[in-house]
Structure formats: C-alpha cells, structure tokens
Amino acid sequence: MTARLVATGLRLAFGATQALDGIDLHVGAGEIVAVMGPSGSGKSTLMHCLAGILRPDSGEVHFDGVRLDNQNERKRDAIRLRQFGFVFQFGDLVPELTLLENVALPLQLLGFRRSVAEHRARALLDRLEVADAADRTAAAASGGQVQRAAVARALVHQPSVVFADEPTGALDTVTGELVLDAFVDLARENGSSVVLVTHAADVAAVSNREVVLRDGRVAVAAVDRT
C-alpha cells in the first residue's frame, strides 16, 4: 500500500511533559488507522503533528512523499485546506451559519463559486440524511445533525486524509454508530485515508488497523488485516 502519511521519530514536549516520545507511524492511501490509548497518552497531540497543526521538537512528517513539518505556516495552511479534512468531537461548526453554509465553506475557501459549493454540500448532506436541517443554523441544530454536517464538511472537498478526533464521542450510541458508518462509507468511496483518534475500542473497530499509544509511545502497532 502506498504510504500517504509517514511519521518518524516524533518527539514533542509541553514543559516537563513528554507528550510524544519517539513515534513512528505510517498511514496508507485509503487506509483507516485508529489511534487509541488512555487520556493523556498523546493521541490528539500526534494527530495535530500529523496534520501539520503542531510542529514536533524532532522527527519528521511526510505527506505524499513531501516533508510537511518543516514547511512554513502558509504552506502548511494551504496543504491542510486542500488535502486534509477534520472532524472534532463537538462538530466545531460556525454556530451562526446554517449547516449548508458550514459544509460549503471549505469549497468556497478553495475558490469554488457559492452556487457550486452549496450544490455539492446539499448532495452530501442528503447522503448523510440531514438535508432536512440544511437551512438550520448550527446553533439551532441537534448534536446528531451538527455531527453529520461536520462529517460532510470534512469530506466535501474530497481530501486525501481525514483526521477525526473522537468524532462520535458526544453522541448517543445509536446515533454515534449511524454517523460513524456514514463517515467511513463516504471516506472509503472518496479513497480518503482516515486517522481516527478514539479511546473507544468499538469505534476503532471500523478501522483497518489500530495503533495504541501509552505515555507518548506506540505500545501496540497492529498489522493491517484487510
């Protein structure tokens, strides 16, 4: 499998806390990798380093063969905007905008006309069975609706990699399963790789393989079983 993201020897400390302590990780094209581990094990920090949001103290991150961590802020922003999608635990949509506007936003930032962006956004919201709420503001929508829209926003520009941090952590079990299934189906259709950060093993079960962190190190690196 072609490596899409490769991290080698990542180390990052926050004060006296060694959040990442020498992590090697690769994510193949179209592969879904679950990053698991207890609270404080370094899962989210690793995700932020892989996505170029945080810079490691040492070690390297390569995306599609190009080194990402030593690029300047502007270049990393450009790569994130075009190539990466993000889903967070509480959606993190713009509360004043409608779900439709939120989902169309990444496309508009990439220069698509508003009508084109909203057409694509509506089609995706329809796939995620939340088209009825498309014109509701994020502030007025339910948690499940917001999270579906967050999934749509992460995938609307067909990114190479989607980073998802506890994407269903704020939802009840049934809604969480539905949103997770839809997310995974759409990511697979797109051919997007997914880095799925979760502490819940049942969520990790949708991945191709799991990596378990403990104290900033890889405790278990499972092999791909697909």
């Binding site: 049942d202 079960a205 499972a222």
Partner: protein
C-alpha cells in the same frame, strides 16, 4: 441454553431427521460448540418419551433406521411456555480474561500486555462481524449483532481496566518517589 427446547423450536416449522436437526442447530446456534449426534438422538428420545415430539416415519436404508420427528401439541405448548418465560439473570462469573489480568497483576507480569493482546483479537472479530451485519441473512445479522454487543461490553471493560491500571501504577510511582525523597 436448553437444547431440548431449541430442538423443539426447530421441529415446529417442519418435521426433521436427527441428522438435519443437528446440522440446522449447529448452523444457527452452535458457534464453536457443535452438538454431538449422541446428544441429539438422546434428546429426541426423551422428547418422544415425554410426549413433546413423536416419530412420524421410520425409513429403512443401508444404515440404521432413520426416524423423522415432528413436534406434538404438548410440545408446542411447552415451547411457547419456554419462549415466553424470561431467563434468570445468573450470578455473573468472571471470564478467563479477568482471571488472566488478575493473575498477571498478582505475579508482577504485565496486565496491560494481556489487555492489549485481547483487544487486538476482539477488534479482529468485530471487523468480521461488521461484514456479516451488513450483508448476512437476517438470522446471521441478529447473531452478529448479539456477538458484537457482547464483544463491545468486553472491550469497554478492557479500556476501563487499562485506564484503571494506568492510574493505579501512576499512584504507585508517585508514592514510591514520595517515599524516596523522605530522609
């Protein structure tokens, strides 16, 4: 699980030979523990003795006579009673994983390694079940849902136990360093 009642349930829609009954039982409910032929025939004899099933026909062939069994009216009544009686919630016995984790802790071995190994096996099985839940026939889906729910419960415990052990070991280390700093 009550094998006699399950066999009655399989006999109700259509009379069957012991051989086909065993095959259907194994396919639907056997999992890794298939019924032995001896148990099937002994159970059918008891059901016949108790008037819950009867021999419909005896067919002679090269081997031993083949008996085709059907459920009786009393059998249907007994089956309905069993189906509609909720089962007792038995006293929960800890599983083998719990025993392994406990013994690892007691012996100073790595309990986290036991949990890590089991998590990987559970996740592999959950991934297999996810395919069945998507594409299997309805009884296979139900069986996969059931097994999935139980595996998820195990996994919840695996994560809880892992977090608890982390905390415990952190407390232990803190206690040791506090003791070490005392004059």
């Amino acid at each position: 699980m009550s094998v006699p009642h399950t066999l009655l349930g399989l006999l109700e829609p259509v009379p069957q030979h012991g051989y086909t009954l065993k095959r259907e039982y194994d396919a639907r409910f056997g999992g890794t523990r298939e019924l032995k032929f001896g148990q099937v025939y002994a159970t059918l004899s008891r059901l016949e003795r108790d008037g819950l099933a009867r021999v419909l026909a005896v067919e002679s062939g090269d081997g031993p006579d083949r008996r085709r069994y059907a459920i009786t009216a009393s059998g249907v009544t007994e089956l309905e009673h069993w189906l509609t009686t909720p089962q007792e919630v038995g006293e929960h016995t800890p599983g083998e994983l719990f025993v392994k984790v406990t013994l690892s802790l007691m012996s100073g071995r790595s309990a986290a390694a036991v949990l890590d190994g089991q998590r990987a096996v559970h996740l592999t099985r959950l991934r297999e079940l996810a395919d069945i839940r998507r594409s299997g026939e309805i009884t296979q889906r139900l069986a996969a849902d059931y097994e999935t729910a139980h595996l998820k419960a195990d996994l919840t415990w695996i994560e809880t136990a892992g977090a608890r052990l982390e905390r415990w070991s952190a407390d232990l280390n803190q206690g040791e360093s506090a003791n070490g700093s005392q004059p």
